[in-house]
């Protein structure tokens, strides 16, 4: 905990959820890489609140004071022009100019073309990131995401914490 995390907690309690508390983790899990990176299938998960425009996806529920624990799924060939972000808890100025600064889908495809990674996983994901009551996130959405990643047989995952 820092002065900044204390301030954020106070601000969230005042504006959104009076009972908000950080989830503090004690044990940190660890998995060893199974393959060299250059032969790995790598997943992408961002908490930037990205979704498909033109009513292909339901936008995230940014107005909900408890946040939105759900995620959106995209094919890895998705055109960045078809995406937008509806996050209500960070400054969208930069993401609106170039979504790669929070959801680096173009750059991850380049990592695959350059041979840094073997390939980008066929499906990539975005959460909204702001969740003050994480029960459904933990009990429902995260296990669902993990199952999808396992079914795609990903070797590693890159996450962006917005």
């Amino acid at each position: 905990m820092s002065e900044r995390t204390d301030k954020t907690r106070a601000a969230v309690r005042e504006k959104w959820d009076p009972e908000f508390e950080w989830v503090v983790n004690e044990f940190i899990p660890w998995a060893h890489p199974r393959k060299p990176l250059a032969r790995s299938r790598v997943g992408l998960v961002s908490t930037a609140g990205v979704y498909l425009k033109n009513q292909f996806h339901q936008p995230f529920d940014g107005a909900n004071p408890y946040g939105d624990p759900s995620f959106r799924e995209f094919p890895n060939i998705v055109d960045i022009q078809d995406l937008r972000t509806g996050h209500t808890h960070y400054n969208l100025t930069y993401a609106e100019q170039d979504l790669n600064v929070v959801f680096p889908i173009d750059r991850m495809r380049e990592m695959a073309r350059m041979g840094v990674i073997g390939e980008l996983a066929p499906l990539v994901y975005s959460f909204m990131g702001y969740v003050t009551r994480p029960v459904r996130l933990l009990a429902d959405y995260i296990p669902n995401l993990v199952e999808r990643l396992r079914r795609m047989d990903v070797d590693a995952v890159l996450l962006n914490a917005v």
Binding site: N25, R107, L145
Partner: protein, 83 residues
């Protein structure tokens, strides 16, 4: 985000998390984390700076092969280039 990274890692899949606030990363405890001195909402740097975005991704992905201690939080040294 820490919760998501930890659950994926616990399922046997290595993760690396890219962030901008080291104190937040320390609190949420992802297995491997890297961070840059960038504003919130611009994790991978200035809009349109594809070269820097690539460099950060290479460093972050490289951490999957080089980091050996759980809970490592590595500063990457990139600085924000715009006012």
């Amino acid at each position: 985000m820490g919760l998501i990274a930890r659950a994926i890692e616990a399922a046997g899949i290595p993760t690396v998390t890219v962030g901008v606030l080291p104190d937040y990363l320390e609190m949420v405890g992802p297995p491997r984390a890297v961070w840059c001195k960038h504003p919130t909402g611009a994790t991978f740097g200035e809009p349109g700076n594809a070269g820097k975005q690539q460099a950060i991704l290479k460093d972050a992905l490289g951490a999957l092969e080089t980091m050996s201690e759980r809970g490592t939080i590595l500063p990457l040294g990139y600085e924000w280039r715009r006012s």
